[in-house]
């Protein structure tokens, strides 16, 4: 069973992995408030795709089943689940397949 701390850790590790690939002066602060999407986000669109795929894989591995984060449910959320770490963590935890 994935709890809040475990899911948030997965998201943060995906961001840290992205940071590791960047030059030292291009790295961003990784934390629960890190913006993933929008004008003030530190990630470009391909970075965000990479983070989503990493989180999908890690959550699927932890859950023992395929979990998709970019299906119609995600697109129909009132607030995008990809806004920041907190929103993505909350969205993952809301998925019925993880209940």
């Amino acid at each position: 069973m994935l709890d809040h701390a475990a899911v948030q850790d997965i998201v943060l590790r995906a961001l840290e992995s992205l940071n590791d690939e960047r030059a030292a002066d291009d790295r961003f602060v990784v934390g629960p408030q890190t913006r993933l999407f929008g004008a003030d986000a530190a990630l470009d669109s391909l970075d965000l795709v990479s983070v989503i795929v990493d989180v999908e894989e890690a959550v699927s591995a932890a859950a023992g089943r395929t979990v998709m984060l970019t299906d119609d449910r995600a697109m129909s959320q009132e607030v995008s689940p990809f806004t920041d770490v907190a929103a993505l963590t909350a969205y993952v935890l809301s998925l019925p397949e993880l209940a």
């Binding site: 391909l46 990479s50 795929v53 894989e57 395929t66 998709m68």
Partner: protein, 240 residues
């Protein structure tokens, strides 16, 4: 990795529609040159080789593709090459084309290639190297009567591939399209021989394609040296 000869040694190639026709030919070619093949097809395997793994997948069904990749990951954590070959063809006048047959062509020929490519790309990004080759058709250029949706679905492969080429370029993945002319396969046998003969006679190179014609271009797209070749479509036989 050697630049001499077909570029498959040490590579894992995912070939869809691998049971017969061009897909089987490609799978056997990769296996014969030291590659490992994961074949996706709806039916049972027709290839007996120690480096071949068959997974029963209907690429027209996204859930089946997801299950197929889950099974694939049980035997390999890498996919280096994807050949999107699986296709269905119903040749019929538009006004009497059964809707289910029309949908099947879009779902298999276009959506299937999309789903397989996107799942494979997730694995390719880890190694920073990948080759995706979409198998298209001379129908795109010749626009034969009866093939409205088949030709459109194959034309869509080029557009889809070109966009994916942009998206995947930063990951070291190329995406190209190979437009095959008439070649002896089960699919071609569905069509009236005299009509196919007439089409072939009208090609700039008026003969049927041979397996090596297909494999030559496949090898080129998949080679190490083709890292600067992406978003390209090559038609055989002079079709354009």
């Amino acid at each position: 990795m050697s630049d001499v000869g077909p570029p498959y040694a040490g590579r894992v190639a995912l070939v869809t529609g691998s049971r017969r026709g061009i897909g089987r030919m490609i799978a056997e070619h990769v296996l014969a040159h030291g590659g490992r093949v994961v074949g996706f097809a709806r039916g049972e395997s027709t290839i007996d080789h120690p480096d071949h793994t068959h997974v029963q997948v209907d690429v027209a069904d996204p859930a089946s593709v997801q299950r197929g990749f889950a099974e694939l990951k049980q035997v390999t954590d890498a996919v280096h090459i994807v050949v999107n070959n699986a296709a269905v063809l119903t040749s019929q006048y538009s006004m009497i084309m059964p809707p289910a047959a029309a949908a099947a062509m879009v779902d298999t020929n276009l959506l299937g290639a999309f789903m397989v490519s996107r799942e494979a790309a997730k694995l390719m990004r880890r190694s920073g190297w990948g080759r995706i080759v979409n198998i298209s058709s001379m129908a795109v250029g010749l626009e034969p009567i009866g093939d409205s949706l088949y030709a459109a679905s194959k034309a869509g492969l080029t557009t889809m591939g070109n966009v994916m080429a942009k998206e995947l370029a930063p990951l070291g993945v190329t995406v190209n399209t190979l437009g095959v002319s008439a070649i002896a396969t089960d699919m071609l046998a569905q069509l009236p021989q005299d009509k196919v003969d007439a089409v072939v006679a009208g090609l700039p190179l008026p003969r049927y394609a041979e397996p090596d014609d297909v494999l030559n271009v496949l090898d080129f797209f998949c080679s190490e040296r083709s890292s600067y070749v992406t978003a390209q479509t090559v038609y055989l036989g002079g079709v354009h």
